[in-house]
């Protein structure tokens, strides 16, 4: 029940923000009858309508459930824990994106691999270091050497 209401609220906010942004899209002399904002406004309106419909449906279900004296579904107490752990994983990824242009592809990977593995509970030790170095080298061979992808170079020079 709470999940559906949260879903309806999130959808409504998305629809409202998107509608405001869509309304601000300018027209051009090349525009057709529908215009660049035409379909986005329709999409936002439909999404807003669906959000309201979902909220009404959830409310109705709640009323019926209360009349029948049934218990509401228990909330999931782990949601905050899930979000906290996910934020940590995201932070590791964001760290890679920020550092890769400074440290270069190989070194950034050699740091990403142990960071992620140790975040997931792998003890830090010689094995983890060796696997990370080997892993970063395998990725470098595959993407840079074999596929010829110009991965980011280290800012400090090729030696880094």
């Amino acid at each position: 029940m709470a999940k559906d209401l949260t879903c309806a609220a999130v959808l409504f906010v998305v629809a409202a923000v998107y509608y405001v942004l869509a309304s601000g899209i300018g027209r051009s002399a090349l525009s057709d009858e529908v215009g660049p904002a035409g379909l986005p406004v329709v999409y936002a309106t439909i999404l807003g309508g669906l959000a309201i419909l979902l909220a009404l449906k959830t409310g109705l279900r709640y009323l019926i459930a209360r009349q029948r004296h049934t218990h509401a579904e228990p909330g999931k107490p782990r949601a905050a824990y899930v979000l906290g752990r996910a934020a940590g994983t995201l932070a590791i990824g964001a760290g890679y994106v920020l550092l890769v242009n400074i440290l270069g592809y190989w070194l950034s990977l050699a740091l990403l691999l142990p960071a992620m593995a140790s975040y997931q509970g792998q003890p830090i030790g010689r094995r983890l270091v060796l696997i990370s170095i080997a892993g970063a080298t395998v990725f470098w061979v595959l993407f840079v050497w074999l596929l010829g992808i110009p991965m980011p170079q280290p800012w400090l020079g090729p030696l880094a």
Binding site: K3, C7, V10, V14, L21, A22, I25, G26, R27, S28, L30, S31, D32, E33, V34, G35, P36, G38, L39, P40, Y43, A44, I46, L47, L50, A51, L54, R78, A79, Y81, V82, G84, R85, A86, T89, L90, I92, G93, A94, Y96, V97, L109, L112, L113, P114, M116, A117, Q120, G121, S132, G135, A136, F139, L142, F143, L147, G148, I149, M151, P152
Partner: protein, 495 residues
């Protein structure tokens, strides 16, 4: 008979067999890496074809395409990351099977279905190139719009428990597809003055974010994965009973793949989603879909491998490339002085016969190479969870960067992953959103082009016979899904 003899002679006297095997091996590698699309895999091999015999060069390129289309299913099944757009529908049941410790079975089904689809597509290519190409040429913007609507109509049955949530997810996908330059006037929309967003958000980034990154984010808070039984983790081909069960979804996938493949622009993604949907509709085990159904793997895999062959129809007949991969193949033909068109068979009959023979070898190579490569992949995904998650993260970043050499794309994938996690937490399904992202541009651009042609008159969609036919089928799909939902609801209420 004379052509068959000639094709067999070409196989023996020219380097077609090694070219086909090499192309498939390279293609599987490229397709299996998220972000390395079939077209990038083909583009990487293109320079090596310049000095080659024309027949072997074309076979190398076509076999790379076949291998890459198949390769996309490997990460889709094993790590919830579609290697190609067309493999997105395989994720649904393939990854469920992997989570249940049946990854070996899922890979066996996908390989078996991929070979069936490839051979069926090749047969269609040989027999029906001319008539099928004529159908493709008669497609107008109205028909393409209707085709997009037909694809979107699948949302009604892919929505899971809540139709409202499914439709909302579909709309979110359509919204994401509007980011970038307007298809008619070029006005920037939702780009926030970021030049990186002017070309829109590539669907593969959204898919990798929604499926793979959000899975990593959610798995961050769970314990060690259950180890599958040693026997279950082995590559297993379907037995006789399962092969009989898979025949229907494979037939549906082959027919839909043929239809979609010959139309420029439609491609394997619509084919695999529609095949998945139809396989579920006609299955006796409908309730298993989404929970690890073998049919849910077989149908989309057959369809996208059929498309890999039938997509060559418009290229060979008219020189119309329906996709980036087809455009690179066309480039390969032109580099060797082979001009596609009605006179192709008269002027370069031996090259085309060689291509057919090479594609046949490529399909068989797929089977042999798959049997060699897949056990290694299965071993890799059964390593400790912490290492596996770290390597998947590194693979996602490396693969996504390879698309456009852009760090901005990595940020987009992390953003899509966050949206995916939010969708998981509030119970919004992914597949409708993916359909919206993939079909959004096709629907909007052709809807508006049609209205420009008609001066704003919507009746143009009913006047075009193909559009009317496709829209009628879409309406039937939607009404059928709604009727089924209502029937189930009434039955549940009565019980």
């Amino acid at each position: 008979m004379e052509s068959l003899t000639q094709a067999l002679t070409l196989l023996v006297t020219t380097p077609l067999v090694p070219a086909a095997a090499l192309g498939v091996a390279w293609g599987i590698l490229g397709g299996a890496l998220p972000g390395i699309s079939p077209s990038i895999t083909m583009a990487l091999v293109l320079p090596f074809t310049y000095g080659m015999d024309p027949g072997a060069a074309i076979v190398l390129l076509a076999a790379t395409y076949v291998g890459a289309e198949y390769g996309g299913s490997i990460p889709a099944i094993l790590i919830n990351t579609p290697g190609t757009n067309a493999a997105a529908a395989t994720v649904l049941d393939g990854y469920e099977m992997q989570k249940q410790g049946r990854g070996g079975e899922a890979l066996g089904i996908s390989l078996y279905s991929g070979v069936i689809g490839g051979l069926f597509g090749l047969t269609m290519l040989v027999l029906l190139t001319e008539p099928l190409a004529r159908v493709a040429l008669s497609f107008t913007p109205m028909a393409y719009f209707a085709l997009g609507v037909l694809g979107l109509s699948v949302i009604a049955s892919l929505s899971g428990e809540s139709l409202i949530k499914g439709m909302a997810a579909g709309i979110i996908g359509l919204m994401i597809a509007t980011v970038g330059s307007d298809p008619i006037s070029g006005v920037p929309r939702f780009t926030f003055e970021q030049a990186d967003l002017l070309d829109g958000i590539p669907p593969i980034l959204v898919m990798v974010g929604l499926f793979a990154v959000s899975e990593l984010l959610q798995q961050s808070s769970t314990g060690e994965w259950r180890k599958p039984d040693r026997d279950m983790a082995r590559l297993r081909f379907p037995n006789a009973a399962l092969r009989r069960r898979l025949a229907k979804p494979q037939l549906l996938g082959s027919v839909i793949g043929t239809f979609e493949g010959v139309m420029p622009g439609a491609g394997g993604t619509i084919a695999s989603f529609m095949s998945y949907n139809e396989a579920r509709r006609w299955s006796r085990n409908r309730d298993e879909f989404g929970k690890g159904s073998p049919e849910g793997v077989a149908a989309p895999e057959t369809a996208n491998n059929t498309v890999a062959a039938t997509a060559l129809v418009p290229v060979l007949s008219f020189g119309i490339p329906g996709s980036n991969s087809a455009a690179i193949l066309l480039g390969g033909l032109l580099v060797h002085g082979i001009v596609p068109g009605p006179r192709l068979f008269a002027e370069n009959g031996d090259v085309i016969l060689g291509l057919y023979a090479g594609l046949f070898v490529a399909s068989l190579s797929l089977l042999v190479l798959g049997m060699l490569i897949l056990p290694v992949c299965l071993w890799l995904v059964n390593r400790p969870k912490a290492y596996l998650m770290a390597f998947i993260y590194a693979l996602i970043f490396s693969g996504v960067y390879s698309i456009d050499y852009s760090l901005f794309d990595l940020a987009l994938v992390l953003g899509a992953g966050t949206i995916g996690l939010t969708m998981r937490l509030v119970g919004l399904p992914f597949l409708p959103a993916v359909l919206g992202v993939v079909l959004g541009y096709l629907v909007e651009s052709n809807y508006r082009r049609s209205l420009v042609l008609s001066g704003g008159d919507h009746f143009i969609f009913l006047e075009d016979r193909i559009a009317l036919g496709l829209l009628s089928v879409a309406a039937l799909f939607i009404v059928g899904s709604l009727a089924t939902r209502t029937w189930r609801f009434l039955r549940a209420t009565a019980n």
